[in-house]
């Protein structure tokens, strides 16, 4: 079914703002959860339960001086955080929030745009997002930023391979690259986290590294180094990088929910499927909490451990999972 353009545009606007809101709420949730896991309260001053802390953060970052090194490659230096933010937000456009609704004769699709290869699009956008980190570090014209961006680049490229291979099993079982069809297939058969548990594990670990969150947060190893590629950034430009990182985590959690946990469907009760966005968001934040939990628990890896783990453990496991899945899919047919 086709969707009118005047429905798509406001929908895109709503989704972007909702994702931004989720990003703000995620930073609050992270501080709160980390605090409680470390026997602290977390933010509890600004607003009820500290809920206004993200707003205060935003105001602070916007009002802060946007300092730029005098030698910085000016256009690229400014474009880099925008690219990261844009790709992070754009990836959310293909994630299905619901099965689609018909309101007053007009069809409203569950995702913002309908792309038959949405899975590949998400990975492609993720790869472009890495350019923001590399170019940002290079354009700062500072050797530490450059080293930081090389570190980031090496990590993201290494783990992207495992991440892409880990969803291959899902693609083979769903027999589609369209996320909506993969969800429908799960609804018809089985949530893919059961047959694809190895794929899920690889996806979660690879995804943690891909969004450079602890224990894989070597791009910005706060306790050991000043920062990585964004050493020379300040104010809202730095904030954009940070936002991109969090929205990437949201996208990845959304992708994980869609691929392994049946997206917007409520388990067993099909009559509740009209409330698709609610279930999607609940599953999403459950997964985000797992990422935060992981951050609170695991110490940061050493760089050689990171590389060894990525290439010698995760990649073979992901490959084996894809091969075994392919073999079994053919066998069952």
């Amino acid at each position: 079914m086709k969707e009118a353009w005047w429905i798509t545009l406001p929908k895109a606007f709503v989704v972007i703002n909702v994702v931004m809101l989720f990003f703000a709420f995620t930073t609050w949730l992270e501080r709160k959860l980390l605090g409680r896991m470390q026997l602290r309260f977390g933010p509890n001053r600004a607003g009820p339960k500290g809920l206004l802390v993200p707003i205060a953060d935003l105001l602070k970052l916007i009002r802060k001086e946007a300092f730029a090194p005098i030698a910085a490659r000016e256009p690229l230096y400014i474009v880099a955080p925008i690219v990261s933010m844009f790709t992070a937000l754009a990836a959310f456009s293909v994630l299905p929030w619901g099965a689609g609704w018909t309101v007053a004769g007009h069809y409203i699709r569950g995702s913002v745009v309908d792309v038959p290869i949405s899975l590949i699009l998400i990975f492609a956008l993720g790869s472009i997002g890495i350019y923001g980190f590399i170019v940002g570090g290079w354009a700062s014209e500072s050797k530490y930023s450059l080293l930081g961006s090389m570190r980031t680049c090496a990590q993201l490229v290494s783990y992207e391979v495992s991440l892409a291979l880990s969803v291959l099993g899902v693609v083979l079982m769903g027999q589609s690259l369209d996320l909506a069809q993969i969800v429908d297939k799960q609804q018809a058969t089985l949530w893919f986290f059961i047959p694809q548990c190895v794929g899920l594990a690889v996806f979660l670990i690879g995804g943690t590294a891909e969004t450079s969150r602890a224990p894989f947060d070597l791009p910005e190893a706060d306790t050991e180094l000043v920062a990585g590629y964004h050493t020379e950034y300040s104010g809202m430009r730095w904030g954009l990088f940070q936002a991109a990182e969090y929205i990437n985590m949201l996208t990845l959690s959304g992708l994980c929910v869609t691929l392994f946990f049946d997206g917007y469907h409520f388990p067993w009760v099909h009559s509740l499927d009209m409330l698709g966005p609610l279930w999607f968001v609940l599953k999403l934040f459950a997964l985000v909490s797992v990422f935060i939990w992981l951050r609170a628990t695991q110490p940061r890896l050493r760089y050689d451990q990171l590389m060894r783990f990525g290439w010698k453990v995760l990649l073979p496991v992901a490959t084996a999972n894809a091969l075994v899945t392919a073999f079994l899919v053919v066998l069952v047919k």
Partner: protein, 164 residues
């Protein structure tokens, strides 16, 4: 392959913490009692008859390693008797933004005129407000700080703190 179960055990530890009561002390609402010998904001003391103890000898200013005390002395006259001694401190200023709260001034003082109190909430919005004049130091502090029970500690309170 003990890595996997050990990792999962770690997750259990962090999860358990969520259900415990946080140990944070919520500062402005709850003020932790300070140690009885805690060195905070200075006070200038008076005798029981109302005369100031300070005789303007400037020994505290000499002892101050941060050089934050300024004393200008003047002679007592029969119709203007301020202190018990021959002279009194006409100007007594402590620059609280420089003070390191070492307590050397109270050790140096031969009359126990200056002592360090227990108050630590002395921040201001303006640097000039941190220069405490004599009348500020003679007045009791506005904000009171809870002090822990001295019996809990086995260090004796110095006599000049008890008798000032």
């Amino acid at each position: 392959m003990a890595v996997v179960p050990n990792t999962l055990k770690g997750f259990g530890v962090t999860l358990k913490q969520i259900f415990k009561k946080p140990i944070t002390q919520q500062y402005p609402e709850y003020k932790r009692p300070v140690y009885p010998r805690y060195r905070g904001r200075h006070r200038l003391n008076r005798h029981e008859n109302g005369l100031e103890k300070c005789v303007g000898c400037s020994l505290c200013a000499a002892a101050c390693p941060a050089d934050c005390i300024r004393v200008v002395a003047a002679e007592n006259t029969p119709d203007n008797r301020v202190s018990a001694g021959e002279r009194y401190a006409r100007i007594y200023e402590i620059n609280m933004s420089r003070c390191i709260f070492c307590g050397y001034c109270e050790v140096a003082c031969p009359f126990d005129a200056i002592t360090l109190g227990n108050d630590f909430e002395i921040s201001e919005y303006n640097r000039d407000d941190l220069i405490y004049t004599k009348d500020i130091l003679l007045r009791p502090p506005i904000k009171k700080v809870p002090v822990a029970d001295p019996d809990l500690y086995d260090t004796p309170i110095p006599y000049y703190k008890e008798h000032s």
